[in-house]
């Protein structure tokens, strides 16, 4: 009896966690109940982009750093797995090598970029990442012996990833793992300092924190996670070309994070879902009217409006409302007590 009471208490106290748990279980069971190949592929895509958007959120939402070259890390991951799988046998061992290579390269690149620009104004990081991503794009186009240029190349994946359902579950589990890691990370003392930097950099520095070190840490973690998203993206297509380095990928991450809600992590996942679903739906609509081929224009306009009017995004705005309601309620209670 007592135990059940405890359980109830946990659910009441952690209502959000319970909801996440239910959604995760639902998504986990979905492929066994509802058999639609297209749906499965779309959801896999959403999970992959959710990882990318969450890594972006760590920078933008939790540390207040704007990166315009996130595609660079994504592309490094995609090309690492592609090259390893193409050059060597597609075995689990080589998959692990590719993951390690991705982690190493993205960590080094994000470290250098951070070291160069994070001590300066926020514009510099945005500019340097944008320019570097352009450089990687050119590199991928020109280094034909390794990347096969613009056309890209197809490759085989280890056996375990071949089955769509398996791959779906692996992506889902990875996304949940990344979500939990980042949740823990942002609530850790280090994460708290990052949020302090976002709120007021000078004050954080005066409190004796080495702001640069913390920002570089955020940059590295974010870069590595974006690289991992790239690995899964390339594996879902079993194909990689230079498009992984283009501005479009960065813009996708940006739109997902901003529309979903910055600094919330869940917002990034919701944003990824929204954008990918909308993209899918609008591509269908493009057959009806050509304007929907330029679907990105709608997102651009929505994005500008969101930045001006709802800088907190969907999740942030919802949270603000619940906070306000709770405040009102508690104020009323106090009044009642006083009266």
């Amino acid at each position: 009896m007592a135990e059940r009471g405890e359980g109830m208490k946990w659910i009441v106290n952690n209502r959000m966690n319970a909801i996440y748990l239910i959604i995760a279980a639902f998504l986990l069971l979905l492929p066994f109940v509802y058999e639609s190949r297209n749906m499965l592929i779309l959801l896999t895509q959403i999970f992959v982009f959710a990882i990318l958007a969450m890594s972006y959120d760590l920078l933008l939402g939790f540390t207040g750093i704007v990166s315009f070259g996130h595609a660079m890390f994504f592309g490094i991951g995609a090309y690492s797995i592609g090259i390893f799988m193409k050059r060597f046998e597609p075995t689990m061992l080589h998959f692990i090598y590719a993951v390690l290579a991705t982690i190493l390269i993205t960590a080094i690149v994000s470290f250098i970029v951070g070291l160069l620009t994070l001590r300066l104004k926020s514009h510099f990081y945005a500019m340097l990442t944008m320019a570097l991503a352009g450089l990687f794009l050119v590199l991928a186009e020109k280094w034909r012996t390794l990347t096969f240029g613009n056309d890209g190349f197809t490759f085989r994946v280890p056996e375990i990833f071949i089955d769509r359902t398996n791959f779906y579950i692996i992506c889902l589990v990875t996304m949940i793992a990344v979500f939990m890691i980042l949740k823990r990370f942002t609530n850790s003392p280090l994460g708290r300092v990052l949020q302090a930097i976002r709120e007021n950099e000078q004050r954080t520095e005066s409190l004796g924190y080495q702001v640069l070190h913390y920002k570089i840490a955020a940059s590295v973690v974010s870069g590595v996670l974006a690289g991992i998203a790239g690995i899964f993206y390339a594996m879902s297509l079993r194909y990689v070309n230079t498009s992984v380095f283009t501005m479009d990928i960065t813009l996708d991450a940006l739109l997902m994070t901003i529309i979903g809600g910055v600094g919330t992590l869940v917002g990034a996942i919701i944003g990824a879902g929204l954008i990918e679903f909308a993209h899918d739906g609008l591509t269908e609509l493009a057959k009806e009217h050509w304007i929907f081929e330029r679907w990105i224009i709608f997102f651009g306009i929505i994005y500008i409006l969101v930045v001006i009017f709802f800088p907190l995004g969907i999740v942030g705005t919802l949270r603000k409302f619940t906070w306000k309601r709770r405040k009102l309620e508690s104020a009323k209670k106090k009044e009642n007590l006083a009266g």
Partner: protein
Amino acid sequence: MELLFNLTLNGLATGMLIFLLAAGLTLIFGLMDVLNFAHGGLFAWGAYSGIWIYTTTGSFLFGIIGAILTGFLLGIITEKWIIKPVYGNHVQQILITLGLMLVLSEMLKVIWGPNQLTANPPEYLRGSWEIGDMIIIKYRVFIIVVGLLVFAGVQFLLKNTKIGLVVRAGVMNKEMVQALGINIKKVFMFVFMIGSGMAALGGVLFGPYSGVIHAGMGMEFAILAFIVVVIGGMGNFTGSVMAAILVGLSGSFMAYFVPELSLAVNMLLMAVVLIVKPQGLFGGKG
């Protein structure tokens, strides 16, 4: 000798185009502390509208004027409705201008279609002069001359007019200018307008220079312009012209001798400047 001369001329012409873009960026940044990521979009809009007017009316001059007016108009709209609501918030500013960039380049595809447009220089700028064994392409000289004229004009505006004085004072200390009873908001709009007009002019000049224009070119040139702004020093107008020529020349020489490395060299230059002298090669104070 001839080769060197031609590469230099080519580099200077490209440098001037980059300068037209970077000058606006750096002025806007210096005065308003806004890094306009949509500047490349204004460049592309200048190119499309200018070339469109040029091909429909047949007059290149009308094309140039039309492009500049488009730039002015877009600049005013951008400043008023996009930048103004988020003054003072850096992160929001960066985000919103990038969103605008997205909308601007997609709008181009909506209006003029997703394919690239072709553009040729007008009759009187076609062909080349031959001096001895050297061949000088007319249009390149034309770009260099226009670039220098714009540079001289803006320099005159900044140094010898009342509004230039206000702008220079504003770069140094905005609050003080405001305290002296000058409406700095109006000056902001003016500078934004001029900057956008220069970018649009750069765009329309670029059209016949490369022969084709496409919606993605704004982004490509914007990256070069950012490199120039960093090398020249953010907010430093004379620095931006030197840096633009430097980047243009290094681009043209590298593209001939080691084409793979042409962007890499500029990037490397920017990285070095960021490490050694983040206030820019030609910046005096930090």
